[in-house]
Amino acid sequence: MNWLFEITPDEWVAIRLSLRIAAVATVIALPFGIGVAWLLARKKFHGRALLDALTFLPLVLPPVVTGYLLLIMFGRKGLIGAFLADNFGIVFSFRWTGAALACGIMAFPLLVRPIRLSFEAIDKRLEDASATLGAPPLWQFITVTLPLALPGVIAGMVLSFAKALGEFGATITFVSNIPGETQTIAAAIYTYTQIPNADTAALRLVIVSVVIAVAALIASEWLARRAQARLHGE
């Protein structure tokens, strides 16, 4: 059974890369996710339905379509991709940063939804109370709304992290499957299933991804419980 635990250096590269891509995707998406969740939960504006649809689109589109759209927009010759590369030196195509972008977009709906639900559940009259105590809108948000929405923020981050770890279709379409650069656990498993006698390697990575996913879910449950307890003073 030793083969199960002898993870090769190549496999470690894929594991570390996956964790980095998922963490970066989640952390960078978070402020956008909070902003969009807040807009959808609280504001009435023209284009709200469109923003809602756009946010949840990656959940229902075939991942390969999302990946292809990313390629068109953020590729070297893409409208946004060319602009970012020429002006800021930020390149997405065939880089791990592109994988993080693809993962962040695919995970975005899962990030936004719990945060939005917890914003909707907050008693707005508490914000009025903080206004009468001298808090400008931004401080009302920072000191009252956001702390009260914390369990939802944690749930969204964990779901988004788990989704980003497992993302396959959009990533491989957009940035391909380059070992050490864009080959995540999912892509590596796919590669191992395509070559003869690599079953054990594939199985090892399957076990690793199950372990990471279970650990993430347990951690989120624990964090959410703690946040909930802190909020309600137990």
Partner: protein, 228 residues
């Protein structure tokens, strides 16, 4: 001196309120649904009148003619809500300190000690709002409003959510507050019995309109049939 003269269409009711409040405690008295809370919300800046003007001393808080509408967070109104509205994620001490923090006031331990003593809050400071009784919550809410050093204290049915014995528990604190702090107060209630213990001036409101203003003698008829 608070001068209010506002109109507002709100929830199918037209509110037309004009009154003045000099020093001391002015009661807004009238049945539930008469628009008292809406009027107080307009004074606090949480609700914007359609037309009119609100002045506090030499500050214009709202003036539709000149497009003035000072936002709630700059009005320095101490608002005590019917249901307290303490922040559930903060301790009592943090709730009390919130207004000082947001208004960037220097720490004033003499004043906070005074308010904590006035309202007997010392044993509650480390507790969380959910572990307080209704009466304790209202005392903390009053303390929180006072410690933001408001120019005017708005008490919106502060006793309405309490049972009779809890009301009797809070009333002496309100009387002490009136006698010991110099902050003028607007006291909203539909209970004549509360008002006679606290206020000196009465504005009677019915169907969104001010019907009469005057002294406590306005309540004489109600006091005779009073159940409180």
């Amino acid at each position: 001196m608070l001068t209010v003269n506002v109109q507002k269409m709100f929830g199918g009711v037209t509110i037309e309120a004009a009154f003045e409040s000099a020093v001391g405690v002015t009661a807004l008295y009238g049945p539930s649904g008469a628009g008292k809370t809406s009027i107080v919300s307009m004074i606090a800046g949480l609700l914007k009148p359609d037309r009119g003007r609100i002045d506090l001393d030499d500050t214009t808080l709202f003036d539709s003619e000149h497009g003035i509408h000072i936002p709630a967070y700059r009005r320095r109104m101490g608002y005590v809500f019917q249901e307290g509205r303490l922040f559930p994620h903060m301790s009592v001490a943090q709730n009390l300190d919130y207004g000082r923090w947001m208004n960037r006031l220097p720490r004033d331990t003499t004043e906070s000690d005074r308010v904590i003593a006035l309202l007997d809050l010392a044993p509650l400071l480390t507790r969380r709002p959910r572990n307080l009784s209704g009466g304790e919550r209202q005392r903390v809410a009053i303390g929180r409003a006072l410690l933001a050093k408001p120019r005017l204290l708005l008490l919106d049915e502060p006793l309405a959510s309490l049972d009779r014995s809890r009301k009797q528990e809070i009333l002496p604190y309100l009387a002490r507050l009136r006698d010991e702090s110099k902050v003028p107060m607007i006291y909203v209630s539909h209970q004549a019995g509360e008002i006679v213990k606290i206020a000196s001036q009465v504005v009677r409101i019915e169907d969104g309109r001010v019907v009469e203003t005057g002294g406590l003698d306005l309540l004489d008829a109600e006091r005779r049939s009073m159940v409180f």
